[in-house]
Amino acid sequence: MSTAQALDQWSWSDSIAAQTIDAALRAPMAVSTSMLGRTDVGFVPEWVNVFQQRIAELHGLRRDWDGRGSAAVRPDALFFAYSVLGQSMAPATVAPSVIPLGHGGVQMVWSSADADVEVEVVQPNEVIIYHLDKASGTEREWHAATEFSDLSTLLRAVFTR
């Protein structure tokens, strides 16, 4: 089994050298999954399936998909968005709506009676986050590159079942 194949399964383990060619690297550590029902670890979160289905739709959008000169959806923006979600979301956090943008990036949106959160991924390491607290009417917008602590706190507090 090649390294790249061995590491396809779980993204946490891909911090091992995916680009090396050493034949001695073997399969990653896997987390056992209960065959009896849902457990706290070791299952694929529901948001992952929802997100991946949406990504498959968006990836088919080519240049000028909206008839107004928009760029094709950037795969690197999709991968980066997925990385942000993997870092920020709890397994039971609800999936965002994912909307393509004219510059090739994507916007992820969560909305509830209490808050709206929008995360615009322009390109890898370039993210704009917007939060509206509906109870107080407070708005906040900030830029992020690799650090998503505030987003994670927000999503886990407001959008996790």
Binding site: A4, L7, D8, Q9, W10, S11, W12, D14, S15, I16, A17, A18, Q19, T20, I21, D22, A23, A24, L25, R26, M29, V31, V41, G42, V44, P45, V48, Q52, I55, A56, H59, A72, R74, P75, D76, L78, F79, F80, Y82, S83, V84, G86, Q87, S88, M89, A90, P91, Q123, P124, N125, A145, T146, E147, F148, S149, L151, S152, T153, R156
Partner: protein, 326 residues
């Protein structure tokens, strides 16, 4: 073959035509100064030949147990880059890397952070395309060094293909990496594919730690690493059959902001000749400060510092003697 001050062998072969109907008049083995004028990649390598020196405060080993080293950069995907373009790119590297292999592309990886620590365990994201643009290896003639190119990555690897082959050292590899990336950037621009915008840097050391003769399976890590890691004996089951180690550390910049991670993995493995080893892989990956080549190099140097220091700190003094710690 001895290297001159520019890091080139004193005699190189030009294989290009350069527009001459009968081929380049320099075809054949000739002096490197003529070759430098012929080959674009070698010209770039010569321009960047000011090799940095090894930091004196880093631990140094005469015979480090290194099996493979990779210096790499991941950049924003060049969606216009198709398989035929890889052939155009290879033309400029062919004199130094005459062998070619094709492999499936690697998926993008990003280091992101929250104060919550461990991210969710999620499957790798796969985006299916009908014809993925491949990753190509440009390999040197003795198969010890290679360049990897794909739509969103450039890597330079060295690998130990036989006992007695000496690790060329990080500084020389960095020189080759910088020259390669500089020239790739130019070729990409010349073809009209856009700009290389780095988004992650990655440095990997794969070490093959030979298990000392007579060591019990349960004591392997304790023998190779410092005593902090010794698999406990269980009252009913006795010694562990084997085990693995995975550690992650956050790399921070001067302002203490997280910029990357150092990942250390160790697991039992076996070489092709049947020798039992522990394979220790150290990966430093993170975001460069900016888009310039110098920013990529700075991260790789920082990653090298963390890798070498951590390797020294977690391996045992007994093994340091075997590896000739200076």
């Amino acid at each position: 073959m001895p290297l001159d001050r520019a890091g080139l062998t004193s005699r190189e072969t030009c294989t290009r035509s350069h527009g001459y109907p009968a081929g380049c008049p320099n075809i054949g083995v000739h002096r490197f100064d003529i070759t430098v004028n012929c080959d674009p990649y070698l010209r770039a390598r010569a321009r960047l030949s000011g090799m940095t020196s090894r930091p004196t405060d880093l631990p140094d080993f005469a015979s480090p147990p290194i099996g493979e080293v990779s210096l790499g950069v991941q950049f924003n995907s060049l969606e216009g880059l198709l398989a035929p373009h890889l052939g155009l790119i290879w033309a400029d590297f062919r004199a130094s890397f005459p062998l070619l292999e094709q492999h499936p592309p690697l998926l993008p990886v990003f280091e992101t952070f929250t104060n919550g620590g461990t991210p969710s365990l999620i499957p790798q994201l796969q985006i299916l395309t009908s014809v993925p643009t491949p990753r190509v290896f440009f390999i040197n003639s003795d198969r010890t060094e290679l360049l990897q190119v794909q739509r969103d990555r450039f890597h330079h690897n060295w690998r130990k293909v036989a006992e007695g082959v000496e690790y060329p050292r990080f500084e020389k590899m960095l020189g080759t990496f910088e020259a390669g990336l500089t020239h790739l950037t130019k070729v990409i621009a010349d073809i009209g594919l856009g700009q290389i915008v780095p988004n992650q840097c990655e440095l990997t050391y794969v070490n093959h730690l030979t298990v000392p003769a007579g060591t019990k399976q349960s004591d392997i890590f304790a023998a190779l690493l410092k005593p902090w890691l010794k698999a406990p004996m269980l009252s009913d089951l006795g010694a562990a059959e084997d085990g693995r180690v995975m550690l992650r550390y956050i790399i921070r910049d001067k302002a203490k902001a997280p910029i990357g991670r150092l990942t250390i993995g160790a697991e039992p493995a076996r070489k092709l000749d049947g020798t039992d080893i522990v394979q220790m892989t150290l990966v430093a990956r993170g975001k460069p400060k900016g888009d310039a080549l110098g920013d990529v190099s700075e991260f790789l140097k920082l990653g090298r510092r963390h890798i070498v220091k951590s390797f020294d700190e977690i391996t045992s003094p007994e093994m340091h003697k075997i590896w000739g710690k200076k």
